[in-house]
């Protein structure tokens, strides 16, 4: 970017950016540049995934088949999920981790910078392979992102491409996770004790453990799919003595921790933003850390609630139901602590705070529908209906995605040295708030009325709410372009950001100039009272 005038915009003696585009981006080992790459990649994937959802909602805007064939519709639902989960949400969080964790713990860079480069540059190849299947004879994978056999195995060559793409994404995530663990455990500046670390860093440390524990399980599951399809094994093939239900167990043993991989960093981000704009330390810091840890632990023993209808013994259903409902306790601790942080604070509603509060309110709705789905007798009614779709979009869009947008608004001044236009930021927020609820709230009603998910056509009785949901989706598709415009405008003509652009912000990332120089904390910072946001603090 600024490489042609690299000499002109030195902010700092250590600001030696590599000359030349390839040296700067392809061979980079700098945590900030890699973080930027991850975020740009994730943003591209958001737009691709959102375009797919527009195809889906266009077809569903009215009953009957109008625009696409059912088989293509199924490819869209499958790829929309894979792209959004593995291409958008996860890389966006890894990008934020790359940018912020070294800054938050006073480290000069990530612990393993070359591996960091590698773990990013695998991703574009993985997704080229996955999306390339759309242009092949036989089309892309169409059996749903959960890849249940035997349906998923009925695809053509796309099965192999999908499996190898997932292997590559898994390798990338695992390397990213190892890097984050090594950085946090080994590179904290003196004085940044574990229980003084910012919550974003804490939540990522726990997320990274989840990643290295479950991504290989997914790799194992899809490898078994591959050998079943191409090498004549019968792991999941009933005709050969295998058991398709076993695939669901293995998949969701990965899948449920994966759900928390996509939400724990969001908890961390919101726990950074709310104290800043409430001008109070986070209420119950240690309780928040332990809540994240216990959610992570519980995620390993609840997986079968995704598959209550497979015909499990009663004892199994009861165990998984109660274990699932147990998760509401640490999650409730988090929600109440955010509310208590705001209680009697001097709150101001800058754009990042709006997104964070939007997160708390709407994520709670997703949590409530989650409790409803956890009840075995009710779940038999809800299973594979639009109610499930509404539930996981409330936790992933208004949960994970809202927190990512909040984080970008919050740390943007630190990254670029420019403020954003508050008016347009608020327009962006309220526009999204209206249309996201228009999209997903009616889906609760559709599901309760019995509309199944992953279906291109439906009974005319469902027509009205589907149309409203589609209008919401079209409104939502405006938001990524709005976001590009807002940030491009800020980069060009935004007000110059001070070192601490938010009045109540604490933490080491606000101790370096804005924009953060290419190299920071080459000498570990000396921690003074009041510098850290969390731990035993009074400010």
């Amino acid at each position: 970017m600024a490489n042609t005038s690299a000499h002109a915009d030195h902010h700092d003696d250590h600001d030696h950016k590599p000359e030349g585009f390839l040296d700067r981006w392809l061979f980079t080992t700098n945590h900030k540049d890699i973080g930027t790459l991850y975020l740009i990649f994730a943003f591209t994937m958001v737009i691709i995934g959102a375009a797919m959802s527009v195809v889906i909602r266009t077809e569903l805007a009215s009953p009957g088949l109008q625009h696409v064939q059912p088989y293509f519709f199924n490819q869209m639902t499958t790829l929309h999920a894979l792209v959004m989960i593995f291409g958008a949400v996860m890389p966006a969080f890894v990008g934020l981790a790359n940018w912020m964790i070294p800054l938050q713990i006073g480290a000069p860079d990530m612990a393993l910078p070359r591996m960091n480069n590698w773990s990013f540059w695998i991703m574009p190849f993985a997704f080229t392979m996955l999306l390339g299947t759309l242009f092949m004879p036989g089309g892309g994978p169409a059996g749903g992102w959960t890849m249940y056999p035997p349906l998923a195995l009925q695809g053509g060559a796309s099965v192999a491409f999908m499996v190898f793409a997932i292997h590559m994404m898994g390798i990338s995530s695992i390397m990213g996770a190892i890097n984050i663990i090594a950085t946090i455990l080994n590179m904290r500046a003196p004085g940044v004790d574990l229980l003084k670390m910012p919550l974003f860093t804490w939540s990522w440390l726990i997320t990274a453990f989840l990643l290295i524990a479950v991504m290989p399980v997914l790799a194992g599951a899809v490898t078994m799919l591959l050998t079943d399809k191409f090498f004549g094994t019968s792991f999941f093939n009933a005709a050969g003595g295998g058991d398709p239900v076993m695939y669901q167990h293995i998949f969701w043993f990965f899948g449920h921790p994966e759900v928390y991989i996509m939400i724990l960093p969001a908890f961390g981000i919101v726990s950074e933003i709310i104290p800043t704009f409430s001008r109070k330390p986070l209420f119950g810091y240690q309780a928040m850390v332990y809540a994240v840890a216990s959610i992570a632990f519980l995620s390993f023993i609840v997986w079968a609630h995704h598959m209550f209808t497979v015909g499990m013994p009663l004892g199994g259903e009861l165990f998984f139901m109660y274990a699932t409902m147990l998760i509401a306790i640490p999650t409730g601790v988090k929600i109440f602590n955010w509310v208590s942080t705001m209680w009697q604070g001097s709150i101001s509603f800058e754009t990042p705070m709006l997104w964070a509060i939007g997160f708390v309110v709407l994520f709670a709705i997703g949590g409530f529908s989650g409790i409803m789905l956890a009840l075995v007798p009710a779940d038999f009614q809800y299973h594979d209906t639009y109610f499930v779709v509404a539930h996981f979009h409330y936790v992933l869009v208004t949960g994970a995605l809202f927190s990512i947008i909040a984080a970008i608004y919050y740390w943007w001044p630190k990254w670029t040295g420019r403020m954003i236009n508050e008016t347009w930021g608020k327009v962006h927020f309220w526009w999204t708030m209206v249309f996201v609820n228009l999209t997903f709230f009616p889906q609760h009603f559709l599901g309760l009325a019995g509309m199944p998910r992953r279906i291109p056509d439906y009974n005319v009785a469902f027509a009205d709410w589907n149309l409203i949901s589609s209008i919401g989706a079209f409104g939502m598709f405006v938001t990524p372009w709005m976001m590009i415009a807002i940030f491009a405008m800020s980069k060009k003509q935004g007000a110059i950001a001070p070192q601490r652009p938010w009045e109540g912000a604490h933490g080491l990332e606000w101790e370096v100039p804005s924009p953060a120089p290419h190299h920071t904390f080459t000498n570990p910072p000396v921690i003074k009272p009041g510098m850290l946001a969390h731990g035993d603090v009074t400010h």
Partner: protein
Amino acid sequence: MSATGEQKKNGRVVKIALIVCVASFLFGFRVMPPIYRIACEHIFGIKYENKVADGAKVAAFKEDDARLVEVQFVGNVNSALNWTFAPEVFSVKVHPGVLTEAWFDAANLAPDAIVGNAVPSIAPNRASLYFNKTECFCFTEQTLKAGESRRMPVRFIVDPKLPADIQQLTLSYTFYTNEIATKRLAAQPAAVGPNS
């Protein structure tokens, strides 16, 4: 820039993390399938293996004249297989501990020889541990030439320890195409089939 001590510490984290990764890969790939089997058989009481009952165990069963259990039969064919398949009688009443025989009929409607496998299932699940088959057409591949039909037996004996509240159990079979064996059969020069 950094001391070698730090590199050593990073190396240790990487080593431990990679061990965790390999362990969890093997867990998904090599450990979960057997655990699933053990959980089915020993925790939830669902028989997983489809094999000949242990002769010594079956021989020790004492006939329970006082009790009659109804055994129902169901025959299904997977939609990809162009066969018919049905039991000759739909239910029998048996005394636990008595060896009983039932017959199923299958016919190949397709123009080619097809190898099929029958996958059995017992309902209710918890009765499956008490249902013993001493002989079954589901233990082997069944090859039917075009238009051929076959009577196939199953011999079973219900364990007298079957929980008292179970008065009725259902033995159902689903026939699937054994694609690999069918392909192998088609590749052979059209000589005599293995079952003729």
